[in-house]
């Protein structure tokens, strides 16, 4: 399995793990949980484009 695939798996898992945190945080008005969920989801989303940019350099 290539390093790129491993990073994409991490990105996918991060996004999927973030979703319940985000949902529960929003439902319970728990700002901390919501922030962690949103940050994790964003990190998951950023991995693939960042990999693309670093590959070019």
């Amino acid at each position: 399995m290539t390093r790129e695939t491993i990073w994409l798996i991490i990105a996918g898992v991060a996004a999927l793990v973030a979703v319940p945190l985000l949902y529960i945080g929003l439902g319970d008005n728990n700002t901390g949980l919501m922030t962690i969920g949103f940050a994790l989801f964003t990190a998951g989303m950023l991995i693939a484009p960042l990999m693309r940019l670093f590959q070019r350099k």
Partner: protein
């Protein structure tokens, strides 16, 4: 809900889509890389320009990911069934069997890229036709780029009434249309779909060999389109669930009869530009490519027992039996469908007053297309293993290749659906659609298929496009005094055509054809073809609406 529509906020609303288009088409990024950037673009636009609170953005991202999971279940399962067929070495006998029955190379391309792709769309949908047919076309020597483009065009017509008409049923539900309007809309939808179907046949032949391709393929186009489009039209007034399946199955079987016509019975030189050089020069698939193809089609099996065409079809026969066994036998369907789970979302409102009603997104896993594919893959594996076609370590290889192929699609699908949900929740989609309608007035009918296609491009789904734009199309038809049935028919036909440019579908094709990352090149061909098809349907809509 009143969201002011101006040129400025229309252009701002369009920004996330512009990012997606520029990155994929101009920068040649894959959907897995461009999708997340567009998601970030949608978040920024929603937050700064559409005054969307963070909880709305959060809920829409969760909603999008939940919807993506239900789509990804099918994506993963369809890649799994492909990997089982591939590991069992069934693509080679399947390819050999069909090429033996159909020695004419144009007929082979039409068989895999149009008839079989449409048949698979009639049964499963969700990108399976592209995932399966692209490698089959590569196996007969078609260049990978065309192997993706051809089934994208060929299967599009069956997106509305295929997959047991899930997209059509979605349109009926979201617009709450009465029986009369439903009958009229089905009729118009089927007429526009027939246009799409006919154009699909012509386009595949055109890609094959320009005018000579059309001339040589004309009898097939006429017969196939009469069966696919004509039956869809006839059945639209009888049974909307089995419509697409019956039409595509009858046409697929009929193709074997067409292959017996004198003009298609003899092998002809495969000199079309869509074939790899060695095939064009009559040397067959060249040794290096042949080794790759053998590995690609047979999963590296070297001394497996021979397999007949029927045996090679076992996973797909299993898929048919499982799908219809569950969906057509009411007690089984009801029993399995009773188990479901879902997530509830509260009503939301943006700072600009754009409202989204409370909703629950649920999933019945036992009657989900992903489960049918998964069960078919397991049955296929057991049969192939029983026949001695699976080597040691095959399960590990199947799972490894499934993960390897599915993971970029996973990122892409999550980001794209999350993006489209944020755009819908922030009012961006509303602004985009309202802007188009305001600019066109009663001429809107001409653009109605393009709006449907835009929905499919954003969501990779005819169903999702219908859910996204169905009510908007109905309101616009009423506001502009156009015939509602015709506009709704144009919505779903345009959305069906939009599947040829849907990044998720393109991604499945590039993944299984081995050209991952070249999605932009595929879109460079399919976007102009989609626009042409949508405009032709638009002219028809303009005449009847």
């Amino acid at each position: 809900m009143e969201t002011h529509v101006s040129l400025t906020n229309w252009l701002v609303a369009f920004l996330p889509l512009l990012f997606l288009l520029v990155l994929m088409l101009a920068r040649q990024w894959g959907a897995a890389e461009a999708g997340p950037v567009s998601w970030i673009g949608a978040v920024v636009v929603a937050w700064f320009f559409f005054d969307t609170p963070i909880d709305v953005i959060g809920y829409e991202s969760v909603k999008g990911t939940w919807s993506a999971v239900t789509v990804l279940y099918v994506v993963w399962a369809s890649i799994l069934i492909y990997e089982v067929t591939h590991e069992g070495g069934a693509f080679e006998p399947l390819r050999e069997g069909i090429t033996r029955i159909m020695p004419d190379p144009l007929l082979q391309v039409l068989a895999f890229g149009w008839a079989f792709a449409s048949f698979l769309q009639g049964v499963t949908g969700f990108g399976v036709p592209i995932a399966v047919c692209a490698p089959l076309l590569v196996g007969i020597g078609v260049r990978p780029l065309y192997a993706v483009i051809i089934p994208l065009i060929g299967h599009a017509w069956n997106n509305t009434f295929g997959t047991l008409a899930v997209a059509w049923l979605g349109l009926k539900q979201v617009t709450e249309m009465d029986a009369t309007l439903a009958m009229q809309t089905a009729l118009y939808a089927a007429i526009f779909i027939w246009v799409l179907n006919l154009l699909g046949g012509f386009l595949v032949c055109w890609l094959y060999d320009r005018w000579r391709g059309i001339r040589d393929g004309l009898p097939v186009i006429i017969v196939m389109s009469f069966l696919q489009g004509g039956l869809t039209l006839a059945l639209s007034q009888w049974n909307d669930t089995l419509n697409g399946f019956i039409a595509s199955t009858v046409a697929f079987i009929a193709l074997f009869a067409i292959a017996r016509m004198p003009r298609y019975r003899k092998a002809k030189p495969a000199d079309s530009h869509i074939f790899v050089e060695s095939v064009r020069e009559g040397r067959g698939v060249d040794p290096e490519a042949a080794a790759k193809q053998d590995a690609a089609l047979s999963g590296g099996t070297t001394s497996a027992p021979t397999m007949s065409l029927n045996q090679a079809f076992i996973p797909y026969y299993a898929l048919l039996v499982v799908t219809f066994g569950v969906l057509l036998i009411a007690p089984i369907k009801n029993a399995l469908g009773s188990f479901s789970f879902g997530v509830s979302f509260p009503a939301t409102v943006t700072g600009l007053g754009f409202e989204r009603t409370a909703t629950t997104l649920s999933m019945a896993p036992m009657t989900h297309a992903g489960t049918f594919l998964l069960v078919a893959a397991i049955i296929g594996y057991l049969f192939f293993a029983g026949m001695g076609h699976m080597r040691k370590g095959s399960i590990g290889r199947i799972l490894f290749h499934t993960v390897d192929k599915a993971i970029p699609s996973t990122i892409a699908v999550i980001s794209l659906i999350a993006m489209s949900n944020i755009m819908a929740g922030s009012g961006s989609v509303h602004v985009l659609a309202e802007g188009v309608a305001a600019a066109t007035g009663s001429g809107y009918g001409f653009l109605a298929p393009l709006v449907g296609g835009l929905g499919s491009f954003m969501t990779t789904s005819n169903l999702a496009s219908n859910l996204l734009f169905g009510t908007f199309q109905l309101s616009t038809a009423e506001a502009t005094g156009l015939l509602s049935a015709a506009i709704l028919g144009a919505q779903t036909a345009g959305a069906a055509a939009g599947n040829m440019i849907a990044p998720g579908n393109v991604l499945l094709g590039t993944t299984t054809a081995g050209i991952l990352g070249r999605e932009g090149e595929v879109l460079k061909v399919t976007i102009p073809l989609f626009v042409m098809v949508a405009l032709i349907i638009g002219v028809v809509v303009l005449l009847v609406a």
